[in-house]
């Protein structure tokens, strides 16, 4: 009898524990095969027998636009349901944990770290699908293939470029007019750029009230200067070459903008301005020139001043960062065919249209990029020099993408952080980065 009671209590216990631990998940966590969560793809979900998960990063706007594009697809493919997983920060870390946990998204938005996925075999090659559907990558992404080169390793493509657009120069026309400076062009040299930035910087005593230029520690900003000066991060064989004279000179010039010429905000200035990005400063009219991706336009919809965009300046060569993002398919996806179908749709002209409609970003599809809808969008100010984007794409350098991208960036962040804070000299810093990168790649 007593033993029975003991057993009974044990059972109650385990049930209790099981119930308690299971309870909180039930409403929140749809299992891999469950239909999409409430509010997402509602109508189609009922019929959705093929559930897909798509992970992405970004802002609220990005979240809305992905939803719209996916909804369009579902309207045509009611058998598919799509759960969007919005991961606003620490994106790749989060996705990696999902993969490790055996619940990876079927479709993963990818960017510079594409090869930290591909090198581990976490995403599958797309070549077969491309061949099977007779997709002409040149027709879709332009003669150079756009980002398909960067997203390939050894001739195998791992992600379909989705959003593109190069790093471009935004400038405040009103400020240029006021200072009597000619608008920037693709032919601008560093010297012309610096002259303009100096004229565009307004000071009140020691305090700068208007910066001629603003950038910072984010890699595309300083890396584009390196390539403009004929330098590189990795050489053709993939070895680091970051302490070359070209690189050192470029970083020196970049840093001098802040500390020697004082035409751009320092990290300290940024901390006082409550942001680490020039985008809001430009939007608030505190900066005459800034370089950012096309998405920066979204924040300028309501700008009260006149502005335009131009390709980046050059020194020895024109160079800009072509970034953007693409979609890859997880190797553990249960429905790779359906995932491919969705990706194919999202990168088609029709699937890309909402990117333009919502002024979210520049589309990767070349036809959409060249469409009137994109080129003749109405912005708050006068027509915008959209051709700058196309011009920039031609000047894009091949990104030094490696499986160790995150670690590489961590090294750059630490060492360049000291340089950008004016606490370290450029040459020793670059020597140190070089040495650390050599070690990193030797591992």
């Amino acid at each position: 009898m007593k033993l029975l009671k003991v057993l009974a209590i044990a059972v109650v216990f385990s049930v209790l524990i099981a119930a308690c631990s299971a309870a909180p998940v039930a409403p929140a966590a749809p299992a891999a095969d469950a239909p999409a969560v409430e509010g997402q793809a509602t109508e189609a979900a009922a019929a959705g027998s093929v559930p897909l998960k798509l992970s992405f990063w970004g802002s609220d706007l990005d979240s809305q636009v992905y939803q719209q594009r996916v909804d369009q697809f579902i309207a045509q493919n009611p058998d598919v349901s799509v759960e969007l997983i919005y991961i606003p920060s620490d994106y790749s870390q989060k996705v990696q944990t999902m993969i490790a946990g055996g619940t990876p998204p079927d479709i993963i938005q990818l960017s510079e770290d594409v090869h930290s996925y591909s090198s581990k075999g976490q995403i599958i090659p797309l070549n077969d699908y491309i061949a099977q559907d007779n997709i002409d990558l040149k027709a879709r992404y332009g003669e150079t293939g756009g980002l398909t080169t960067a997203y390939s390793a050894d001739g195998t493509l791992y992600a379909m470029p989705d959003r593109g657009g190069a790093l471009i120069l935004y400038y405040n026309k009103d400020m240029f007019d006021q200072a009597g400076v000619a608008y920037p062009t693709a032919d601008w040299t560093w010297q012309e750029f610096l002259d303009a930035a100096q004229k565009l910087t307004v000071r009140d005593g020691d305090a700068v009230t208007q910066y001629g230029f603003a950038a910072g520690g984010w890699w595309p900003w300083w890396m584009s200067f390196i390539y403009q000066n004929g330098g590189a991060i990795l050489d053709a064989s993939g070895k680091p070459v970051v302490n070359s004279p070209e690189v050192v000179e470029a970083i020196q010039f970049y840093n001098d903008l802040v500390y020697k010429h004082k035409v751009a905000p320092s990290p300290e200035d940024y901390a006082n301005l409550g942001t680490n990005s020039p985008d809001p400063l430009f939007a608030q009219g505190k900066v005459a020139m800034s370089t950012t991706g096309f998405w920066g336009i979204g924040g300028l919809k309501d700008a009260t001043f006149n502005w335009d965009i131009a390709p980046l300046f050059r020194n020895k060569a024109p160079a800009t960062v072509l970034f953007g993002s693409g979609f890859g398919i997880s190797k553990d996806s249960k429905h790779p065919e359906a995932a491919w179908k969705l990706i194919e749709y999202l990168t088609s002209e029709e699937g890309q249209a909402p990117i333009v409609e919502n002024k979210q970003d520049a589309p990767a599809n070349i036809a959409t990029l060249n469409s009137d809808a994109f080129l003749q969008q109405s912005w708050s100010s006068k027509p915008i020099n959209m051709a700058a984007l196309g011009q920039s794409a031609d000047a894009a350098f091949a990104l030094p993408l490696t499986p160790k991208w995150n670690e590489m960036m961590s090294i750059f962040d630490t060492e360049l952080g000291e340089v950008f804070a004016n606490r370290a000299e450029v040459q020793p810093a670059m020597d140190s980065i070089q040495q650390q990168l050599e070690e990193l790649f030797a591992q």
């Binding site: 308690c20 909180p24 929140a28 966590a29 969560v37 997983i85 991961i87 055996g102 920066g296 924040g299």
Partner: protein
């Protein structure tokens, strides 16, 4: 002891008041930021003394797309189950250690105490691997479930409390036909109730602001508890926008208020449960 000179008194009050002002200042600033308008927030022209009183901010965080209601709900679920598990299991285990005799008990108790010395870092990675293999990533399970295994510290403290209860009470109950679980439920629990409340409070405090666990395990915005949600709000840069610092501070306040309430209502329990077991100073 009861008489203080004028200077003495003056110095004491001056010290206590200045200190109070210094310690309160950041909190006042937090409130001031939370009550600022969007324009002030975008221009970062916050003032120390609140000049604007946008109480609507407290409503907006629940209606905007970044849904604080959702965060709050997730936090409540997390804390609720953590407290249930911790209080229930820790007290049962403590009871067993305090009252029941069994071979090997001393060894197990030493094991229990030794876990207090093990830094959490050592088990971090393997636990992460384990939970991810169980498919618990992106759920609250990795944060909740360990509470159902009891906490060594709580067990130790509760055991101290239980040993102070006269054993005669147990024996009397046993004669009345209660089994061990009955003794625990009818005799022990009522007598250590204040200590259980204290354990509940500690568990609440520990889990309410938990950041590291959710950061590692929760991916989807929809599933984040409040602490992580607030951080996300401050870290997400929509195109061309400075993070909405006023709303971030609203989140910080919402995160803080329950902690203050718990302090006010739980203070007497925590005092009683003073951490060395209630007998400080004189032995």
């Amino acid at each position: 002891m009861n008489r203080m000179g004028m200077i003495d008194r003056g110095v004491t009050y001056l010290f206590l008041t200045v200190l109070g002002l210094l310690l309160a200042a950041p909190f006042v600033y937090m409130i001031s930021m939370a009550l600022s308008s969007d324009a002030t927030s975008a221009q970062l022209t916050f003032t120390f003394i609140p000049r604007e009183f946008e109480f609507g901010n407290f409503v907006r965080v629940f209606t905007s797309r970044l849904n604080f209601g959702r965060f709050l709900w997730n936090s409540l679920i997390l804390v609720f189950f953590a407290v249930i598990g911790q209080v229930f299991v820790s007290s049962l285990v403590a009871y067993a250690f305090a009252r029941l005799r069994a071979p090997g008990k001393e060894v197990i108790f030493i094991l229990l105490l030794s876990t207090l010395m093990i830094p959490a870092e050592v088990t971090l990675i393997p636990q992460f691997v384990l939970f991810s293999k169980l498919g618990w990533v992106n759920t609250l399970l990795p944060i909740i479930v360990p509470n159902f295994f009891g906490g060594a510290y709580n067990i130790f403290l509760l055991r101290q409390f239980i040993t102070r209860i006269p054993v005669e009470l147990d024996e009397a109950a046993q004669i009345d036909g209660l089994n061990y679980f009955g003794i625990y439920a009818r005799i022990i629990v009522p007598l250590i109730f204040p200590a259980l409340v204290a354990v509940a409070i500690f568990t609440f405090v520990w889990n309410w602001g938990a950041f590291f666990g959710p950061l590692i395990y929760i991916n989807d915005v929809e599933k984040m508890p409040l602490a992580l949600g607030v951080q996300i709000l401050s870290a997400t840069n929509s195109a061309g926008q400075i993070p909405p610092w006023n709303l971030v501070m609203v989140g910080a306040l919402i995160l803080t208020v329950p902690m203050i309430l718990v302090y006010f209502f739980g203070q007497r329990f925590m005092d009683q449960f003073s951490l060395t077991g209630g007998s400080v100073g004189v032995k």
